[in-house]
């Protein structure tokens, strides 16, 4: 229960620095500070709270990607940026869903936002393919791959977790898994693209 939401909107710079350093409470305060604004935006424009959640989280991901890339430069206020991204995303979704209403919403071009969103979309495509490939991989391959590559665990730790007698066996297993993943991933990619 957090009701005093608007009471403390943290300074942009602190937030950005915090998120770059990977501090959870920065993400937390970013989320609680700006989610109500987006909830309002979506609710007032034919959406529900789940739509608001999806849209806002996507915007945070875009922002996060932007912040964590090295040549980061935010030209507007954080609030403005998030609002612009969300608005853009939501109008796009509305246009896709507008079966009944003939009205089309004009996507005003904030060049900054558009480029970010394009990159974001590309990445999303790749991630979707990866998710699909990982889903088809099966156990224990999937866990091994996830632990090693996604969570950056060492081979030693994985050995212990899976009870392999020595690291070489584990490495061989991991290699086989990786080959299968590649096959699945690039096959999907070939199909989809």
């Amino acid at each position: 229960m957090r009701n005093k939401i608007n009471s403390s909107i943290p300074a942009d710079n602190n937030l950005i620095q915090g998120i770059r350093d990977g501090a959870t409470n920065s993400l937390d305060s970013l989320y609680t500070a700006y989610f109500p604004m987006i909830l309002q935006l979506v609710l007032h424009n034919n959406g529900n709270e789940d739509d608001a959640k999806d849209i806002f989280q996507e915007a945070v991901i875009v922002l996060y990607t932007k912040i964590t890339t090295e040549n980061f430069e935010l030209k507007s206020k954080l609030k403005t940026y998030i609002y612009a991204v969300c608005r853009h995303l939501w109008l796009k979704k509305l246009n896709q869903n507008s079966r009944f209403s003939a009205q089309t919403y004009e996507l005003e071009s904030v060049a900054d936002v558009e480029i970010d969103l394009e990159q974001h979309e590309e990445k999303n495509e790749q991630f979707k393919l990866m998710q699909h490939a990982l889903g088809q991989l099966g156990e224990p391959c999937r866990t091994i791959i996830e632990e090693f590559y996604l969570n950056n665990r060492s081979m030693q730790e994985i050995c212990e977790q899976f009870g392999y007698t020595n690291a070489d066996n584990a490495k061989t297993q991991k290699y086989k898994c990786l080959q299968r993943l590649k096959k699945l991933f690039f096959k999907d990619e070939g199909l989809e693209l």
Binding site: M1, R2, N3, I5, T24, L27, D28, Y31, T32, F35, P36, L39, Q40, L43, H44, N46, E49, K53, Q57, V60, I61, Y64, F100, S101, A102, Q103, K123, Q126, F127, M130, Q131, I145, E146, Y149, L150, N151, N152, K171, T172, Y175, L178, K182
Partner: protein, 359 residues
């Protein structure tokens, strides 16, 4: 297993598990073999994609945790004052509503329009006032009148019929005959003209009461006809005298309905040949009792003319203020022509039916 080794080495290199010497050896290997370099780059890309994917998942997870802690429902209630389902439906479908309503309205009014519903029904009713349009003839009459006797200063514009109510000079006609008149004259079948004044009008019943004010007039002989106060029955034989032209014209018919145009209870419907100019003429039954005043007919329908019931004439007479009457206005109750045949009846009546000229 050269491929597997290479991948392991690549990973070790990228994760910084190599010693500086091993690093240098690996870099050298890459430099010397473009093939190896390519493989290393491909793997590097895949690794970074996987790492980014992991990071994305962690971020998503972290956000979901945060989201769970937010009380979305109360937040939502704060942001939106609860609007009822109906209103939300309305908001969502109002464009559809508007289109549907437009189509419905267009269809309804279009149908009504094309079916002639909005055509002016009153145009089916024509009051039988005669427009005297033969100016040349009127002027000739005028010239003659000036030379011969007391005359009329200008030709009549409209004409109707009127009939005597009492021997002392009261007459009845239609209100629409004398409406807007400057002055009103009456002329009997013999050609004698008298000036009359309007004593009383009852536009609701289309009745006007006139009085002869001409100094040449004293009084008529006793009226031959009486006034029937009760309603007449369907099928009653009726006749009328009137001035659809400059000559008195007799018309005969029957009472065909107890109400008039569009259900008007003030009138009878009668089937009788009448024309403009017949307005204000008396409608008599076979015994010679006045049962109505001819007032109009329905255009586009054969044999439907209308006459105002005597009952309403009597009501109008009662409504006349006492002060407006300088002579006694009591209707004749004695019918002296009931046993005569029609020709004899007409001979008696014709002196009491007048052409009304309106200037």
């Amino acid at each position: 297993m050269k491929d597997a080794q290479l991948i392991n080495q690549t990973e070790a290199y990228l994760r910084g598990e190599f010693s500086p010497a091993e690093c240098a050896a690996f870099e050298l290997l890459c430099k010397e073999n473009p093939e190896v370099q390519q493989q290393v780059n491909a793997h590097k890309e895949l690794m970074s994609l996987l790492a980014a994917y992991g990071e994305r998942q962690r971020l998503q997870h972290a956000m979901d945790l945060i989201h769970e802690q937010i009380d979305v429902v109360s937040l939502k209630n704060d942001l939106i004052p609860t609007s009822a389902n109906v209103i939300q439906l309305w908001k969502r479908y109002r464009a559809n509503f508007a289109i549907a309503a437009t189509v419905a309205i267009t269809a309804v009014f279009g149908t009504l329009l094309f079916s002639g519903y909005f055509a002016d029904h009153s145009s089916y009713y024509s009051a039988l006032r005669r427009e005297i349009n033969s100016i040349k003839r009127s002027q000739n009459v005028l010239a003659k009148n000036i030379n011969s006797k007391k005359g009329i200063a200008n030709p009549g514009v409209f004409g109707g019929t009127g009939f005597a109510l009492t021997a002392n000079g009261y007459l009845a006609t239609n209100y629409h005959v004398i409406k807007g008149a400057d002055s009103v004259y009456i002329q009997n079948a013999a050609g004698d003209t008298y000036k009359v004044k309007t004593v009383f009008v009852q536009p609701d019943y289309d009745i006007a009461i006139l009085q002869i004010v001409d100094p040449a007039f004293d009084s008529f002989a006793n009226l031959p006809y009486a006034f029937k106060k009760t309603d007449s029955d369907l099928g009653e034989d009726v006749f009328t005298l009137g001035f659809p032209r400059d000559e008195q014209v007799y018309g005969k018919g029957y009472l065909s309905a107890k109400t008039g145009f569009a259900g008007d209870t003030v009138s009878y419907q009668i089937s009788i040949p009448v024309n403009p100019g017949n307005s204000g003429g008396p409608l008599l039954d076979s015994k010679g009792n006045v049962i109505g005043i001819i007032s109009g007919k329905q255009t586009r329908t054969d044999g439907a003319a209308f006459a105002i019931k005597t009952n309403y004439l009597l009501k109008s007479l009662e409504a006349i203020p006492e002060a407006d009457l300088d002579r006694n206005l009591s209707l004749n109750a004695k019918n002296s022509i009931s046993s005569l045949n029609r020709k004899e009846q007409l001979k008696k009546i014709q002196d009491y039916v007048f052409m009304v000229r309106v200037y």
